[in-house]
Assembly symmetry: C2
C-alpha cells in the first residue's frame, strides 16, 4: 500500500480525511488536520500529481510555449527568461506551476501545442512569438483551454493578448527624429516570421506618412538578432544619392556593429548618423555615445500576461476584472547621445 492509503492507515483515519486535511477543506477537526499535516510533512508525502489531476479535472499548472531557434537562444538579446520571472511570481501566488515548454524550431509548433492541449496537460497556456496568421490561436479557442498570447495575430479574433506598443515606440522615435530635422529615416526589421516584424514595419510607414515623408523600401533592412548584422548596412545607408541620416533599430544589439562600421569610416553616431534603438539592453548600455532607446520591464510583461490568463481561468477569474484583455504595453524613451540634428543641417 502506498500514497495516501498508507498515510491514512498509519494515522488510523480514512483516505478521505487525509485528502481533506491536505487540501485545506474546512470540514476537518483541527486536531485531525494537524496530525495529518505533521505526518505528511515528516514522511515527505505529497498527493500524486496524476491521480490528483485525474480526480479533480485540473492540473494546477500553466504552460508557456517558447520556440527554440539557435539564433535567439544564444543571442545576448534573448529576453524570455526575464518575462518568465514575472509570470512565475504571479502564477505561484495563485498556486499554479509554470511549465516552460520549449519547442524546437525544427518541429511543427502546431502539433507540439496540440499534444499538450489535447492531453489536458495544462490548465492554461501562454503562447509567444505569434505569427500574423497563427493556427495555434484557433486551436486554443476550440480546445476551450484559457490562453493568452505574447503578441498579436490576425487569427482568432477576440482573444486575450499582451504585446509591446510598437506603434507608440515608432511614433515617438520618428517624431523625435523629424523634430531634429531628419527626413531620410531608415529602419531595421526582424528577419523572422513573427508578427511583430510586420507591425513594426507598418508603424514605420504610418509614422512617416503622418509627417508627409515618402516611404522608401530601400531604407528597410531586415536584420537578425546579431551584433554584426548592424555593420553591413551602414555603407548601403550612406553611400547613395540621398543618404539616410537616421536609423531606427528593432534589435538594439545591432547598434554595436553600426558603431564599429561608423568608427571605421571616421564617422560619429549621433552626428553623422542618428540612431534610436528599440529595447534598451544591457549589452548596448556601454556604448559611447549612449544609444537613445526605449525602456521596458521584462518581468512586468510576464506579470501582465499571467494576470490576463488568470482572469480567464475558472478558479481565479472571480478575483480579476473580467473578460478579454488586449493590451499594448507602453515603453518609455530613454534619451541618449546617439541622435541629434543631421550633420548636413538640412531642415
Amino acid at each position: 500500500m502506498r500514497g495516501i492509503a498508507r498515510l491514512a492507515r498509519e494515522l488510523g483515519v480514512s483516505t478521505a480525511t487525509v485528502s481533506r486535511a491536505l487540501n485545506g477543506n474546512p470540514n476537518v477537526n483541527k486536531a485531525t488536520r494537524e496530525k495529518v499535516l505533521e505526518a505528511a510533512q515528516r514522511l515527505g508525502y505529497a498527493a500524486n500529481q496524476a491521480a490528483r489531476s485525474l480526480a479533480q479535472g485540473v492540473t494546477h499548472s500553466v504552460g508557456f510555449m517558447i520556440e527554440l531557434d539557435h539564433e535567439s537562444t544564444t543571442s545576448t538579446d534573448y529576453f524570455f527568461m526575464g518575462v518568465v520571472e514575472g509570470m512565475q511570481a504571479v502564477l505561484a501566488a495563485h498556486g499554479l506551476d509554470l511549465l516552460v515548454l520549449p519547442c524546437a524550431k525544427s518541429q511543427d509548433n502546431f502539433t507540439f501545442l496540440q499534444r499538450f492541449v489535447s492531453r489536458g496537460a495544462v490548465d492554461g497556456m501562454i503562447l509567444a512569438e505569434t505569427r500574423r496568421i497563427d493556427r495555434r490561436i484557433e486551436l486554443m479557442q476550440s480546445s476551450g483551454i484559457p490562453f493568452v498570447t505574447l503578441g498579436r495575430s490576425d487569427s482568432g479574433g477576440g482573444y486575450s493578448w499582451i504585446d509591446l506598443d510598437f506603434e507608440g515606440v515608432m511614433a515617438t522615435a520618428v517624431d523625435r527624429l523629424v523634430g531634429q530635422g531628419h527626413r531620410r529615416i531608415a529602419v531595421t526589421v526582424p528577419s523572422n516570421d513573427a508578427n511583430y516584424g510586420t507591425i513594426f514595419a507598418q508603424a514605420y510607414q504610418d509614422s512617416l506618412a503622418r509627417h508627409g515623408l515618402a516611404f522608401d523600401e530601400e531604407l528597410v533592412f531586415p536584420t537578425r538578432r546579431r551584433e554584426d548584422d548592424g555593420g553591413s548596412l551602414v555603407d548601403g545607408l550612406l553611400d547613395r544619392p540621398d543618404p539616410a541620416t537616421a536609423i531606427i533599430l528593432f534589435y538594439e544589439v545591432t547598434a554595436i556593429g553600426i558603431y564599429r562600421r561608423l568608427a571605421e569610416r571616421g564617422l560619429t553616431p549621433g552626428r553623422d548618423l542618428s540612431i534610436i534603438g528599440f529595447r534598451g539592453e544591457e549589452s548596448v548600455r556601454f556604448l559611447a555615445p549612449q544609444v537613445t532607446c526605449f525602456h521596458m520591464s521584462l518581468p512586468d510583461l510576464g506579470t501582465a500576461a499571467a494576470r490576463a490568463l488568470l482572469a480567464q481561468m475558472p478558479l481565479t477569474a472571480p478575483a480579476f476584472s473580467s473578460g478579454v484583455l488586449q493590451r499594448r504595453v507602453p515603453l518609455s524613451l530613454v534619451p541618449g547621445e546617439s541622435d541629434g540634428p543631421p550633420a548636413s543641417g538640412v531642415r
Copy 2:
C-alpha cells in the same frame, strides 16, 4: 462519455483496443489500428495525460529546474536556453517532454524540487547551479527518480553530473599567461553561492602553485554577471605596489567594463593588462582587441546532460552505456589579442 470511451464506442471496439492501437502495441489487427489512428487524428484525440500517467506509472516527461534571479535572467550572459536547446532535442527523440521548471530565487529551492518529485510529476530531473553543499542531491537520491546535475557538488557522492572543465580552463589560462611572462595574475570569481565559483577559485590557486607563484587573496575579485562590474576593479588591480599584469575573468562580459576603464586611463588591453575570458560570448565578440577566451557549445552541454539522464531511466537505459556518468566538458582556447607579454617586460 468522453475520451477513449467515446472514441471506442464510435468505432465499435473496446477501449482496450483503442489504447493498444494508439500505443503501438503489436497485437492489433492492421485494419483496426488504421481505423483507430485515423479517427484519433480526425477528432484530435490524445490520451489524457493524467489518466495515462496514473495507469502507466510514468509521465514521459523530464524536468529541468532552473533558478530565476533577476541578475541572471536579464543578463546578456544568460546561457541556459542554449543548453535547453540540446536537451530538448535529445529528449524529444526518445519521446520525452522537457518541462523547464523555473524556481524563483525568493523561494526555497529544496521545497520547490520536493513538490515536483514527491508528486511524481516527472520521470527524471536535471538540476542546475549546484551548490557545494546541496541538499537537493540527497533528496533526489532518496526519491529514486533518475537525475543528473549541471555542476558538481560535495553532496551525495556517486551520482551523475556534467560540468565544465574549470580546472582545464584555468590551467590553460595560467600556463599561457605565465608563458608570456606574467607573475602577478588576478582572477574574478562569481559572487553567488554556486559551486562553480569555489571550483574556479580553487583551480586558480592550484594553477598558481604549479608554477610556484604565490597566492594573493587581494587579486581575487568577486563579480556579478554585469558589464560594469569589470571597470571598478581595474584601479585596484593596477594602483598598488606590485600591480597585477593579467586577469582571468569568470564572466567574460565584465571585459567590457575593463576595456572602458583602461581606455579612460589611456591603457591598452593586451599590453598594459592581459585579459583572458572564460566563456566566449556574443556580447564580447566585438571588443577590440578581441578577447582571448574559451569556447564551448551550449547545446552540446544540454545534449550531454540529457544523455546522462536517459542512461539512468528504465525505458531508455538499455540503449546507453550503463551507470553513473561524471564528466567535465572541455573548452577550447580561442586566442585573441587581449593578452601578451607584460608591458614592463618582467620575466
